[in-house]
Amino acid sequence: MKMSAAKAKMREKKMRNQPASVQYPESSTEYGGGADHPVTGGGQSNVRPFSKRQRTPPNRSGWVRGHQKDGGGYAREMPKFITAGAFARARAAEVSAMLKAVTKTTASSHVFQTLPKHMRRRAMSHNTKRLPRRLRDVANRMREKSLLASSKKKKEPAKSKSRKARRRHGNLLLEFNRRQRKNIWLETHIWHAKRFHMVKKWGYCLGVRPTYKCYRPCYRAMSSHCLLQDLSYYCCIELKGEEDKLLAALSQLTSKEGGPTFAAAMCLSGGRQGSVTVYRAGQYPSQPLGPVTYLWRPRTAELTHRQLWIWAHPTLKQDLLPELQSVCLCSEAVVTPVEPEVSCAEADPTVQVEAKSENIPDNKLKPGAKRKRSRKDASEPAEKKILGDGTRLPSTPVTWKSSSTGIVINDLTMEIVRYRLIGPQSHSVLAETLEAATVCDASMDLKSPSLWWPQHCKDQSNISLHQQQTGVFDLLKGICSTGELSPGTVLGLTVDDPRLTLPQKKVKAVPCVSQAQEADEEKRRELMMRGVPQQCCQSFLWDQSVRDNVTDNKLSEQELNRTRSELLVPGSRLSPTPPQGRVPILLVHQPGKQVGNELNSWGAGWDLLLPKGWGMAFWIPLVYRGVRVAGLHMSLKHSQNKAAPHFPHDYPDCPAGARFQEEQEAEFLDKFRRRPPAKRTNYIKHGCLAPFRCPWQQLAEEWELLTTEGGAEGKGYGQTESTTKTDVIEEVTSQQNIAATNPSSCFNVLRNRKSLRLLSAWCRPTASRGKRQRPGAAVPPLTPSAVTSFNAAHRMSLLWVRLTLLSKGNPEAHAMVCVPTAEDLKLFSKNKAGSGPQEPPHKDHFKSRIKRKKKGSKKAASSLFSSDDRASDPITPKDPQSSSDLILGLWPDPLPSVTSHCSRVTLGWITQGDFSLSVGCGEALGFVSVAGLLNTLLNQPVEHRGKLLLRNPTSLHYRFVKLNIDV
């Protein structure tokens, strides 16, 4: 038997001062006289036992506790005779060794440990006088020794400073900077960390959900007031260059079939935010990367170059950025900024020296600022709060340019703060929080020549633009609901520091009820019809130098509080506005639910874009206006209620989505394994092949085969569904290997708008209402020929669908979408409220194998077992994998046919499902195979078209659902 390493170590430590061996070989007594020096074992008689000892592992050689299996200790046969002299000598050696061992103290023991327990006293090691006198000397010596040792040690644990020292601002910042080396903190991190469950995801520390219970309040906030989220982790990539070159490069990434692209006229002008799905260059139907939103800077007179911001999810960025570099031919990394504009970091120190004597508050600020700056110069980033991306090395390039096309790509990750406000009242919150910047007069100008706002105020055109923007913003205040605006509207604005108008108490922002003047009413109408005028979309936030200037010159919280304390009336607004307090922002309208006919514009809101460093300055005032704050969990629910796919959860064909699926599977599996085996769901018995993931590829392949087979057999598939199905499926199982080797590539998700529209029309029941729906555009009827041509055009594709439960039931993730049989539909039309059909319980053939394996491992005959077990196994011997990764209740890896595993044919799976508070019944979102769906629709009677079955992985109960394809 092996001893664990730690045990061996401990024993070795204990035995350090002990004599080497006290064992006297018993077998030496066999030969009486031969043994002269038994302890050393020199005699002939000892040769055998000693050599035997040496073969055993070295840790054996001392004493070993307990009875040993291989019979180390006891000799089998008793000696016939003993020689007295040798025997006595051997015993004497033993005794002396034992005495030696007893007298010598082992290392770990203190002096008082030599005392019997009843003689021990409290604090003996501290006060030696409590020991009996005979032990005091030794104890004193020991104590001195230990004191010496501890004094030596004392030098190094100096790291645990006092709390006061640790909480000192500089030290705290250092600590914070250290902690965000791996995962970046957003600017609101500390606020969130006090209130949210945080996770480290995608290289950021993000809040998932608040620690307090607020699921329904958050939903209510979304649908009737305002919900706030920090989306600063979204990555912004900036592209600069000539418009046609940019468009030519970007057109490779998108396709017009999937909706408007980067070149869409309404977005190109800069008046709207657009969204598009990006593909690998020139690969349109296959290899998508993911969805992005983009924003063009409005054309200006002086700039010939266009500027484009592409906002992408952090997991998408790692795929997107190389792709953008390759299509724009941007390979040269530029370390310093390309723009020859004066960056304010260089300009600042000189300016501040000039301004030193002028006003006191500035003067007070300066020493600190200077010290920081000088430290930074000395390449010591100590004490400096990280703004922006802290994980990036300073040498990592963020800018790439191309000499051939002149396009410059700029990675603006963490440079711009993005907050999302969701809900109909979100712009009354904004209207209450933000206040258009006051215009500077000339006197202020002189005082602070480094600040951007006074300089901009010199220019009359800037002032008139600002007034126009202010006018639009004031008009917006009169609008009650966010959904009334044209979707995607952009408004640039310059606002005062919102901390100046912070209310004393948290208030709930309500729309201002003002009887609008006739002229205002007219203007408002104009705004609603035409949207925000072109020039008002301009913002100085686009300007890197302005952004840096604003970030650098932010008034510190401390300074602000000091000015506040000097106010004559406590709690009143700070005025005049300090010259630093103007911030350029962008407001971007987020359209709510746009697809489908129900709940139009649900979840519309505004995005607030800010320069970095100003995050908290805007966050607290927003929170003080009574918004609710939510995390990642709620953004998932938001898109679920909007019936929109959420990235990366619902993009299984994108690399980021595939990665996410793997992570999710590992996580679920881990959770499943942590349960005791008897308490786990047996998914095999539930007929659920893959409860933790969705094998999309296999599904698409199987349906591909099924349809081609069905086509070859003719239209017989429909009528005798059950019989042909089994035939075909058998063929599928046999041909699976062929399909796998076939290079017909990966599945993809159908995003072609025209095809989606056609499908959407097909899956509606074309009953009485049908005539009213589409008088103009005639939909080609659903015929077998139309289906075949559609299938040929979109091979191996999946379709994003929304399923509404017709009766009760709560769908879960990875639930199966199945085809109802004719009998099911008949039963359903008889009894609408009745529950759906049941799946007969499956048999777990793997259970016995696992049991046998367990027994087998005890017998330690694993090699024999696996071969004869497989021969006797009753089920299809399709899994020749090692039985070691069999988990009770989970199907082992090469899955059998996923479509035909259960009594109803599987069409697809659910990726998100929950009880929808907005609809009032269970609602599920997921993908189905296009080929499978068309086949089903073709065979369903017209009045039941689009009715499917849904079954949760942990249940045997099928529920009827209604299929919707929203375009």
Partner: protein
């Protein structure tokens, strides 16, 4: 209960919330009394004849501040629930009067609710109806292959009814 979930209470009348329109003046639009082709860009005045396809997206109707005794009727919530809500306001809520609003298809239902209230009160309640016209805004998103089309908006009008249901003063 979302009462003024505005789209529900008129989309039931015009089923598809979005449709492709090859000819904007198709019979499907006959329910819209006046189609005002205003506010397109001045250059594209002949937009009516444009072969470009548009997706129609309806915006929410203008929302006005809501008092406690305002009831906006929609076509999605169950009729009995809406009626019960009104009754609760009048009896338990302590309001002397409530206002029942209906837009488009929901006008019928608003009238029904008001009449039911009156009937169940044995003549204690009185009604006063007002009608009005609500201006609605549609967004037309172009779907052309060369993506040069500007998005358009147009307004159309829809009728609305506002019924005051009240206990008359004793004198």
């Amino acid at each position: 209960m979302e009462i003024y979930g505005a789209p529900h209470y008129f989309t039931a009348g015009v089923q598809a919330a979005h449709r492709k329109m090859t000819e904007p003046r198709s019979p499907g639009m006959s329910s819209v009394p006046q189609v005002i082709p205003t506010h397109t860009e001045p250059s594209s005045q002949a937009v009516e004849m444009d072969p470009v396809e548009y997706t129609l997206r309806k915006r929410l109707p203008r929302k006005l501040p809501k008092r406690r005794n305002d009831v906006y009727v929609n076509m999605k919530t169950d009729f009995r629930a809406q009626l019960a809500r009104c009754q609760k306001l009048l009896e338990g809520g302590g309001h002397r009067e409530i206002c029942v609003h209906g837009l488009g298809l929901a006008i019928n239902r608003a009238i029904n609710i008001a009449l039911q209230l009156q009937a169940s009160s044995q003549g204690a309640l009185q009604l006063a109806a007002n009608t009005s016209t609500v201006e609605l805004i549609d967004d037309l998103e172009p779907e052309d292959p060369d993506e040069a089309g500007e998005p358009m908006t147009r307004t159309r009008n829809n009728s609305a009814i506002h019924i005051k249901v009240f206990y008359p003063d004793p004198q």
